[in-house]
Amino acid sequence: MVGFRETLRGLAMIDEGFVKDQAGIGLGLAGISALDAKTAALLQLAASVAIGAPGVSLEWGAGLALAAGASEDEIAEVLLAIAPVAGLGRVVAAAPDLGIALGYDIAAELEDPDDC
């Protein structure tokens, strides 16, 4: 039996193996064939933003999208594309976490005194 620590940690960091084995949720894109991997990954990311998923979900989703061939520009434009439907609040909230996922720490940059 998996202890509470393993369960909580496995979920908190989206440990794909754990989620699949323990929660029975396959996180891969098995069964999707009409959509290409990149489109599917961007859709997953868009849905995560729309439901207000936490930062770690966005980082995970962005990582999958990059590996599936999406560019950073395409990932950022997901926010613009869904803003009319999901609302400005949702996309504004997601921007910093998505930035982190793409190696761009907005908070740190805003703080940086040498940035001119």
Binding site: E6, R9, G10, M13, I14, D15, E16, G17, F18, G28, A37, G55, V56, E59, W60, G63, L64, L66, A67, A68, G69, S71, E72, I100, A101, G103, D105, A107, A108
Partner: protein, 754 residues
């Protein structure tokens, strides 16, 4: 060189299982104990017979006899001791760890790969050196006591982190002993909780009344029991206080004044020294003591040169005979140092009495060291004396050799010192060297800044400077950095090649740059000629890295022409050039990987990809063509292995690099063609270990340390949030749920050593 106790390794090839630079053997032995030193029998008994805790910390203010205790332990015990007396210069991780490796090696020969990593300029300290040294310590076949004395002087974070890792690798029965004025850089609370640390503090080191009586007796002071008790009470058993009091009494001072209460308070002791001890000795003696206190190490001839006084050597010898405050550094009685506490006080006194003399004395010391084959010590005295001109000349001489010994901190510290004093403008070679070192360390912003200083010197004034050597090197630097595109690089490289030839400087570097510039400007045949020249010159001067790069470039050119027989032959030469001792050259990785794929050896190709991953963080836009070329070639290998996620990670980095340096000639077209191909390829898009980004690969070795995320962030100049996100991404890509799991998995994959 007979004057010095520097150990030279002449005749011993570099990397052949020994240190890359000269060591002071005196740092590798406990200081010699004089007869009559108080024996710390009860603590030694506790150390020898007590519970065998792997870590021992000895922490007390100066003058408590920490070193004495450990020296006596080393003498008393039948166990093997590996000793390092740490000093300020050890704030370079490779220097400190070389001493530790050398100390262990003297006890029992350790794995030569430790010295290979230590001697290589671009090996990672947390990634290679520390794991190898840790595993060497762990696999010592018989118990050893590894003593690091004066660890409080270590402020370099990599050094401190290394000690905490070594503490985890102490095998059963062995000990790691860290002595100093402040708590050692270990996770003390955890070690305490686990019962792994024995802590010795001032309370343990204070002398008992009986020991105090014995000390006074041995120092030639006869006192009654009550007087001893009173003196002991006043000094709180502080050995240095008791000893100073004894010296004072011996000089005829009164007991009442000797017994001032200064249990361990430096300031009071200092006042005492000033008003009592120094006041009672002759002017001549006082001048000798205070003036020679500017010296890190003293020898007779050095003292004579610094004081400009014949017979100073005899004074030193006399002092050494009678005074415990001078620590002998060798058995021949040539080199000494003052006890740290004593030196601090003498220096304070010199500062008070003759401040203007201090730089003069240091300049004399520098001059003597220069004449006696000790250029690095000469440089340190020049820095201390703020003698910019001499310092700049010595830095020009020492900078690159020191860097190639694998020491990175010292050259950077020297260059920074010169920059802070505005010396770079007057000494163009300093700026050129700083540019080279920044580029080789993969620091593009710094490299660019230095290149601008050089440009300003060369083109900023109304008259063109007349310094052909610096101008040739400046052209080489400009070519190397390739800041203004392929055509400009070609012109700069040609200028460097001609300049070096005219000056008879034999260097493969300009030929390599010329070859790359020709590749970028679409002249592969011309490039091959330049690379052939680079191969000849590199063989002539024994430059292995350059040889490996030149052969790799030739092999890649042959692959591009589809001449696989030649490509394979050159690849086998690359392989030979990077073996024995092992050299991990990033440009060689894709060559060896592609050659392996060509002969169908997929495991060998994967192995090269792993090495390339370890080296990739160093390939920044400081050397933009290598950074892009290596990634493009590696992308081809990932594609051949149907690893799309890995290929895409690399291509994203290529895109970033090309944004910063768009003028990379033919590489731009190659990247575009590869991008198109990548869009239509099929394969695995699951981000696994091959999809680790350069930023994540840079973080990986630091996960082995005990640094927290904010501390790692401070090391890498990144926020805690970024580090946390990168760490999580690493865990996911490696398929593990924790930091220790990531380290274990990365070791299994070969991404980390140890």
């Amino acid at each position: 060189m007979g004057e010095s106790d520097v150990r030279h390794r002449d005749g011993r090839p570099r990397h052949a299982g020994g240190p890359a630079f000269d060591l002071y053997p005196s740092k590798l032995h406990p200081p010699l104990m004089r007869p009559g030193t108080i024996r710390r029998s009860s603590i030694i008994k506790q150390l020898v017979d007590g519970s065998p805790r792997p870590i021992v910390s000895v922490v007390a203010p100066p003058g408590y006899g920490k070193t004495t205790l450990l020296s006596q332990w080393a003498e008393a015990n039948g166990q093997a001791f590996a000793w390092v007396s740490v000093d300020e210069a050890d704030n370079d991780p490779k220097v400190l760890l070389t001493y530790i490796a050398e100390a262990l090696d003297a006890v029992e020969p350790i794995d030569g790969r430790v010295f290979e990593a230590l001697g290589s300029p671009d090996s990672s300290v947390p990634g290679s050196v520390v794991p190898r040294l840790g595993s060497a310590l762990w696999s010592m076949s018989s118990p050893v006591v590894l003593v690091l004395d004066d660890v409080h002087v270590l402020h370099n974070s990599e050094c401190r982190a290394a000690l905490s890792v070594l503490a985890e690798h102490v095998p059963a029965g062995s000990r790691l002993v860290l002595a100093g004025r402040a708590e050692p850089p270990l996770r003390i609370a955890r070690l305490r909780a686990e019962g792994k640390i024995l802590e010795i503090g001032p309370g343990d080191l204070s002398l008992s009344p009986a020991e105090a009586a014995s000390l006074l007796r041995d120092a030639g002071v006869a006192l009654g029991d009550d007087e001893v008790t009173e003196l002991h009470r006043r000094t709180e058993g502080w050995p240095a206080g008791l000893y100073l009091a004894a010296l004072y009494l011996r000089e005829g001072g009164s007991l009442r004044r000797a017994a001032v209460s200064f249990g361990g308070d430096d300031r009071l002791v200092s006042e005492y020294m000033e008003s009592e001890f120094l006041a009672r000795i002759s002017r001549r003696q006082r001048a000798f003591l205070t003036r020679t206190a500017v010296l890190e190490r003293l020898s007779g001839p050095l003292c004579e040169a610094v004081l400009e006084l014949d017979g100073a050597g005899t004074t030193l010898a006399g002092l050494a005979q009678s005074n415990l405050l001078l620590v002998p550094l060798d058995r021949r009685g040539q080199w000494y140092r003052y006890h740290h506490l004593f030196r601090d006080m003498l220096l304070a006194e010199l500062e008070r009495l003759e401040p203007s003399l201090i730089p003069v004395l240091r300049r004399r010391a520098a001059s003597w060291c220069m004449d006696n084959g000790l250029p690095e010590e000469a440089l340190e005295y020049s820095l201390a004396a703020t003698d910019i001109k001499t310092a700049a000349q010595l830095v020009e001489k020492l900078c690159m050799p020191t860097y190639y010994q694998g020491r990175r901190t010292a050259p950077q510290r020297w260059l920074q010192w010169l920059e802070d004093r505005g010396a770079a403008e007057g000494h163009p070679m300093v700026a050129v060297l700083a540019g080279f070192i920044s580029a080789m360390l993969g620091r593009p912003v710094e490299a660019e800044r230095w290149a601008e200083v050089v440009d300003q010197w060369q083109y900023g004034g109304s008259t063109r400077p007349d310094d052909p050597i610096a101008e040739a090197w400046a052209a080489f630097l400009r070519a190397l950095l390739c800041r203004h595109g392929a055509e400009r690089m070609r012109a700069d490289a040609d200028e460097a090649v001609h300049g070096f030839a005219a000056l008879n400087i034999v260097q493969p570097g300009p030929f390599l740059c010329q070859g790359v510039a020709r590749v970028l400007s679409g002249d592969p045949d011309g490039a091959d000629t330049s690379f052939q020249d680079a191969v000849s010159v590199a063989e002539e001067v024994g430059a292995r890295e350059a040889l490996a790069v030149a052969l790799s470039e030739r092999s890649l050119l042959a692959m591009a022409r589809n001449e696989w027989r030649l490509a394979d032959l050159l690849a086998s030469q690359v392989d030979a050039a990077t073996r024995e001792p092992r050299l991990e050259e990033p440009v060689a990785c894709p060559v060896l990987a592609r050659a392996a794929l060509h002969r169908g050896d997929i495991p060998a190709a994967r192995q090269q990809l792993v090495i390339a991953q370890r080296k990739r963080p160093e390939l920044t836009y400081a050397l933009p063509y290598y950074a892009v070329q290596v990634r493009i070639e590696l992308t081809r290998v990932h594609l051949a292995l149907a690893d799309l996620a890995g290929a895409r990670t690399l291509m994203r980095e290529v895109d970033d690099l090309l944004k910063r340096r768009p003028g990379l000639g033919t590489l731009v077209g190659e990247a575009e063609a590869l991008r198109v191909r990548l869009a239509s390829e099929r394969g695995s898009t699951a981000p696994g270990a091959s999809a680790l980004t350069a930023a994540e690969l840079r973080l990986l070795p630091l996960l082995c340390t005990h640094l927290s995320f904010p501390e790692i962030g401070a090391e890498l100049f990144l926020s805690r949030t970024t580090i946390k996100s990168q760490a999580l991404s690493i865990y996911r890509k490696l398929g593990v749920p924790s930091r220790s799991g990531a380290v274990t998995r990365a070791r299994e994959l070969g991404l980390l050593e140890g």
